[in-house]
Symmetry: C2
Subunit: 945 residues, 2 copies
């Protein structure tokens, strides 16, 4: 068989139009590209007047059973990926990347080149189409009749609606007229139809061995107006393309493979685009050749052609396949870069637009409440409420401890509720959750020691510090100092975030271990043994209590007393006194608390992983992982309630009054302090202002990252303004100070992630953005306020469970920053390291050096935080920016671009060309697409969920 | 540029020799094929006289820096897979499947077709080679000189020896004479050299843009005698192939891609074979075309060509690429099937050869000891010793409980040691570990109740049961009844194994929970509170102890006593009496035990997973996972010792005498029983014989599976004989009865796995077999015997830790059988199910039905085991075979072939053709290679490690 081969026209770029199939791009946007697939991209293409090509569903009907029992059977289908019918198992295979054999493509080309090509065929029904297709000279009238009858025979589709039951269509050959009927019921009920967007079209490939044909018969038809061709396709879609590949016996699975080749071609966006616009056979073949030129070839000795490749995490960019003129048609729209690309191309520009405009938030205000009407928000409220309450209790307890009761749990609850709710109503970025934070707590502890050392009245002094801080912050707002945020690169962010996460972890573990001091473990042989209940009565009185000590041990000899072995609470109730070293030890609590702690931590972690497991339907998986921490808390409470041990429980204040006895809600401006202390307070206030600024703005920068695709803009200045005003308020009321809390805010955002429902088989859900609204935060803080009165319910939550959830939050936050990934690299032998882009472009020693410097900075920060020098801690945080600046002398801009991002000056100092790594050597276009293989979803750098 | 295209000769099978590159196959055997890659395959090919082609190392040297600073740089290398030099990062990429662009292959073809092809070039040095290659008409003498100088320039290799430091070769151009020198030091020290087998040859591709050439220059050289070409290659190997691809400026990365194409071609085993035998240009091009015909093509729209595909788990079979005449050259050797193929092709034949020959074990006897000289055996001994001792203690305790002390821990230790050691010395399959097993324990418990009900003297009665069982077993041996084992299909095996594993898990958890009864948790408000130490002295005596009870509670009012709060042990030592309800409660033990239990379980599981993690060098990972259970036990002991709580510890008998007081070691034949009981004992003995036969033979079948590649053969009859003889011995001494224990035996084998060290980059280690020897088992049992005297050391091991390890063994055993995988499928939505071959060929409902039937059988067995009807339990086990037989009416042989394996008659009833599923529809050759993607290593069906 002599056939023409592809590329005989030469393999330089073909002259056929290689234009972008914009429809494909828009209806199936590449994950990670463009701001939001369901938002601007549609409008964008419409504005530009580019018509949208419909999505194509392609089906391969194979002719089987020659010569005894001819029948058409659907054996494969394509939308984005291939699904093969497993005949014996009666199921569709998982979607996979289609692989072809080169000869089948070449054979297809030959067959089409010699066959019938009808572009803009006017057929209105299958009958008309079949008549047109069989109008071939080589066929005798008799054969033509036979062929027509065969083509009108109803194909067998594996019907998915009936679930697992094997249900094929009727196998009886049918009269031609039957095919004119309306689509069958199962065609309309096919669940696949719901996955396809409206306007989708079908393409059908018919292939098979037909012995009575003397020579192969190839036909390719593009219908002028797509029409539903009876029961030809599995789904009742209007057909646009029709491809017929029949012929005499061929060795191997020739027709099957050729049919697959035709289907794969049709499913290629570029080929589809070209063939929709092709005007003759030449265009069709040119499109096929262009396809051949771009295929990837795997060598036979190293790859098994029957292996099924799962769909890649993200599709290759079709943008690359555009010739330049076509790109211009798409107009001034920014090329859709992945966020990773964007980040590396533009460095800190990524967030600078936010910093330059004044956030006009008013237009969004109504939608800030309407957008919250979704079940997911309910889960988010529950989760964040629990985190906030836990935080309020923990920090309340710590503050009470640090300030000798000047503030306490009640103040913590009240302050969190008031400040949080006010912030959620007013702020520019209402996704932010205000909370007491570790750094501020450290500073407050120091401030209290200072005022005690100088015998100051703490709350009035603190009021003045607050007034000064608010003033400084307002000055920063007025001077638009938030622009300095551009110097907070990933290095600074990661250092800060790692510190906060470590504080979370340290506190969780520390508090847990503290419980073992409160509830000591009774070791055998310890003297703290025994307890009895002594009654005031005959035979025993106080003086007789300790009579003698035995010679060799220091235990208590009771002498003659009237006592019983009642448990201490019972004893007291009966009028006795519990006596003995063992009266205060409660057995089993320490280990049980540890068990609860570990259980809630691991359970939350495990539930989080359920989302990506294979088990359960996706709704169940999503539910389990969305509510992971809530479920973990419930499990912990259940376990605790089941065993009924006296574990330490959540303590919620019962009375609404300041913790410090004898003070009113308003702090007096001077108290017992000399007036000039109100001026001197400006000094510590300066340090605190730096801390507040860093803490607030780094969190804001992280929350407003490009990757989260926030639509409603940020409000760096407005938020700082709010924080300053609330600072004033809380200082005046003697409540704790609040700034944006990184970990909880990210948890909040993460619990509000919107993802597309996967459309075509094999397509992965896209990250669409965050449900940006004010309601979840507001409800959380209202609930927090109400919790002051929810004591009867909340008191059942054991503290170890909450510590476990804290640990989980810290670990989750720490584990998702790039810094952690690099720390892990330190432990991996080079050959086992994952194929990170970073490692392709920066020598390993340089990566390790960068990581080591970050580790050293973190260690230094930790040490300073823990020593008396902690008061300069805010300055040290600012020092991170300096360290980063100094790194410019150690690392080349190229390296910093991969390891971090560039600072404003640095960026300007490099020619734009230089930012594309190794342009001269390996070519930049391959780097572009390598970037596509970065994690598809926006990398949420600190993700709690 | 007009070039000729591949396949212009037509794409029907080319006439060039498409023979198997047997060298490739032998030096890099496909994992999963052939009995043992380092064994028979080599000898086989030598016997057949097929010359072995050496392995080829291919290197791409690229010419960079035109026009300013020309230099050769190695940018890629290939053995099996491609490694790319990451220039900026200064490291080799991970090995990956090479992907090519089709045009680069076509360009290469054109260039070679028009270029210089020297086959059997006699050049002896680089200088001679360069002179021959540059003898092209189109070059002027001046250009030729320039080109020669350039080709002699020393290339830059990225040197791996210096670790992470970027160390390039000298960049100075060198004189031609310099290249004649001996290979450089770094060439010889290259660590890659150790990974290549002796006799390996090199191929070099030189490619790049050379502006002064007017037209492209292509040359392909095969050297007649391979010779080391100076510092041309990174490793000092004799070069066989040399390919030069230079030319004027081309768009894109033309020469780089063409060079890669040439290198990938050379690395293809089939192409390599052809080109080694090619005699002219036509042969070369035919080989290239043949390669093109077999490539796999990925469509550009669905696959990013720059994505790196990790090496597949196993390479595709080169056998498939053989034309039939070439296959015959390889002679009568059985085609190398994967074990999965083998299993499916041959069904139960897999083990039948063992059953047909009389195991002659004598020739292997010396090697049974010599083969044990390996560090791995040390780890195996430790692991199995601990498992055996734990087993002995647990079953000893259970037996003592079941037989009212007629047997105990000491008997268990002694019996295990004696029977195990004897078996290891005599048996046909010394990898088997004898142990008390769950089913036998259940039976013994029933036997004891029976003899108590009839007031029989237990041990003499038991002696007679043992005598009868031994007799029956010997009859079974004499009649070669072990052949019946062929009816034990996977269904029966899995049912039995799952039952045993569940017994392990149930016992572990049950014993752990029992501890919480022994050491109860003290709940608040419970009356069991308090304990004091009462001295006999003034003020208190027994009668005064309980004086009155308080009205409302039932606690103890002490009245007037002389007491102290000493802990109970101290109290007793000082002459007092501990009194009170709380004296026997030891606090904290229950929860701490639970913690120890969970810690050791999860730690062992986690350490096991370290083997496949990315962290640590492979030696460390292997060590950690080999010793996982030992380390978990040590961790548990450490934790326990650190806290010093009185957890229950391992109790090892201190005195060497029978547990039952007053009996000697030998059991009297009749005792107090009437003589006719010795005859009646035959009835229970019949049931027990069935049980022993099933238990022993199923384990033997599993251990002797094809997948384990045992070299020394099994000994079904010999083993049963040994068990029978040992039964007689243990019955006479009043020791427990022993049969092969599935879980521990498999753990034993798994800890003795031999794996090849990965050779070429990207190649995975192959499973080579098991270290078959008698020594590990022998040492284990000697140690077990010695443990009777090791009490001072072993007493530090807490029991909860051992229970944790038990749980680990049970879970590991359960989780690796196919049955478990199918149970998991029940929970997965169809679209998330893994791409199992099973699911491609059997409808999901049928799979689920099969699983449900297995689950029902298992449930039934469990219920029977737990009820008084347990005495018929052995019959029910045998019933599994019947159920399996009945399944033939429910499932088609096709389905049973995939779900199970066929029984002897069934197999005969089907034409051999029918065993190849859906031969008529999708063609069997693709099925073959799909089978290749089964797990590469022999699936150890029950794997504990």
């Amino acid at each position: 068989m002599e056939m023409k081969l592809p590329g005989q026209e030469g393999f330089e770029a073909s002259s056929a139009p290689r234009n972008i199939p914009s429809g494909e791009l828009d209806s199936n946007p590449d994950p990670g590209t463009g701001p939001s697939p369901d938002g601007p991209s549609d409008t964008e293409s419409k504005e530009l007047g580019v018509p949208k090509d419909p999505l194509l569903f392609i089906q391969l009907n194979e002719l089987l059973g020659w010569p005894q029992a001819l029948e058409w059977r659907e054996t494969g289908r394509w939308v984005l990926f291939e699904e093969k019918l497993e005949v014996a198992a009666g199921r569709w295979s998982a979607p996979h990347v289609p692989t072809l054999a080169l000869p089948s493509l070449q054979k297809l080309r030959s067959l089409l080149a010699e066959g019938l090509v009808l572009l803009d065929c006017p057929a209105q029904s299958l009958l008309e189409l079949v008549e047109q297709v069989t109008r071939v000279e080589s066929l005798s009238p008799e054969l033509r009749g036979q062929l027509q009858a065969l083509l009108l025979q109803r194909p067998q589709h594996y019907n998915q609606t009936t679930g697992t039951r094997l249900c094929w269509g009727s196998t009886h050959p049918r009269k031609a007229s039957d095919n004119e009927e309306a689509p069958l019921r199962e065609q309309c009920q096919n669940p696949l139809r719901q996955k396809l967007p409206p306007g989708a079209e079908a393409g059908t490939v018919l292939a098979g061995e037909l012995g009575f044909l003397a020579q192969p018969l190839g036909a390719f038809v593009r219908l002028r107006n797509p029409v539903v061709l009876g029961s030809l396709t599995e789904v009742s879609l209007p057909s646009r393309f029709f491809c017929l590949l029949l012929g005499p016996r061929m060795l191997g699975k020739g027709y099957h493979e050729m049919g697959r080749a035709a289907a794969v071609l049709l499913s290629d966006p570029q080929f589809q685009w070209s063939v929709r616009r092709a005007s003759n056979l030449h265009d069709l073949l040119a499109a096929l050749d262009a396809f051949l030129e771009e295929v990837t070839v795997l060598p036979p000795g190293r790859w098994d052609p029957t292996a099924r490749i799962p769909p890649p995490k993200c599709l290759p960019s079709q943008h690359k396949r555009l010739p330049s003129q076509q790109r211009e048609i798409r107009g001034p729209a920014v090329p859709r870069l992945t966020s990773a690309e964007d980040r590396h191309r533009h460095g800190p520009h990524a967030h600078s637009p936010e910093l330059q405009r004044t956030g006009r938030k008013v237009p969004w205000y109504p939608s800030d409440f309407l957008d919250a009407l979704h079940l997911q928000c309910f889960s988010a409220v529950l989760y964040i409420y629990l985190a906030t309450v836990t935080n309020a209790i923990t920090f309340g307890g710590l503050l009470g401890d640090a300030t000798d009761g000047a503030q306490g749990v009640l103040e913590s609850f009240l302050g969190t509720a008031v400040a949080g709710a006010a912030f959620c109503l007013m702020a520019g970025q209402p996704l932010t959750i205000l909370s007491s934070t570790g750094p501020v707590l450290v500073f407050e502890r120091l401030l209290f020691s200072f005022s005690r050392d100088y015998s100051l009245d703490y709350l009035p002094f603190r009021l003045w510090v607050g007034i000064w801080v608010a003033t400084f912050c307002l000055v920063l707002v007025a001077t638009e100092a938030s622009v300095l945020v551009r110097y907070f690169t990933r290095f600074t962010e990661e250092g800060f975030c790692a510190l906060i996460s470590l504080i979370f972890i340290y506190d969780a573990v520390g508090k847990m271990l503290n419980l073992t001091h409160t509830y000591p473990i009774q070791k055998p042989g310890s003297s703290a043994y025994g307890c009895l209940c002594q009654y005031p009565g005959p035979g025993g009185n106080e003086s007789q209590w300790i009579r003698t000590k035995p010679k060799d041990r220091d235990d208590i000899d009771l002498g003659l007393i009237n006592a019983s072995l009642l448990p201490p609470p019972e004893c007291t109730r009966q009028g006795g006194h519990p006596r003995g070293p063992g009266c205060h030890t409660v057995p089993d609590i320490a280990f049980f608390s540890l068990l609860l702690f570990l259980t809630s931590f691991f359970f939350a972690m495990a539930l989080k992983c359920v989302k990506t497991s294979r088990f359960f339907p996706s709704v169940v998986r999503k539910g389990l992982s969305d509510f992971s921490s809530v479920l973990a808390i419930l499990l912990g409470c259940g376990l605790d309630a089941f065993l009924g041990l006296a574990t330490p429980k959540l303590m919620v204040p019962r009375e609404f009054k300041p913790t410090l006895p004898g003070r009113g809600w308003l702090v007096s401006p001077f108290g017992a302090n000399p007036w000039w202390w109100s001026v001197a307070a400006a000094l510590p206030a300066l340090l605190l202002s730096i801390l507040i600024f860093m803490d607030q703005q780094i969190t804001a920068v992280i929350l407003n990252r490009m990757e989260y695709r926030l639509q409603k803009g940020a409000g760096f200045h407005l938020d700082l303004f709010c924080v300053a005003v609330l600072m004033l308020l809380t200082s005046a009321l003697g409540l704790p100070w609040y700034v944006s809390a990184t970990v909880i805010s990210l948890a909040h955002m993460d619990s509000l992630r919107r993802e597309s429902r996967a459309c075509a088989p094999g397509e992965r859900p896209n990250f669409l953005g965050i449900r940006e609204q004010r309601l979840t935060g507001l409800v959380v803080f209202i609930l927090t306020g109400a919790s002051i009165f929810l004591a009867p319910v909340l008191k059942f939550i054991p503290m170890p469970v909450l510590y476990g959830i804290f640990l989980y939050m810290g670990v989750a936050a720490l584990s998702s920053i790039q810094f952690t990934k690099r720390v892990k690299l330190l432990l991996m032998p080079a050959k086992h390291q994952p194929d990170l882009l970073l490692l392709r472009h920066v020598p390993l020693t340089r990566v390790h050096l960068f990581t080591a410097i970050q580790l050293a900075c973190l260690g230094l920060l930790w040490i300073i935080k823990s020593t008396p020098a902690a008061i300069i801690f805010p300055l040290m945080l600012l020092g991170l920016v300096g360290v980063r600046k100094a790194l410019e002398r150690v690392f080349s801009p190229q390296e910093l671009l991969w390891l971090d991002e560039l600072m404003p000056e640095e960026e300007r100092s490099i020619p734009e060309k230089g930012l594309e790594p190794e342009h001269s050597f390996s070519g930049s276009d391959s780097e572009d697409s390598e970037l596509m293989y970065q994690p598809k979803a926006p990398e949420i750098n600190i993700s709690v969920n």
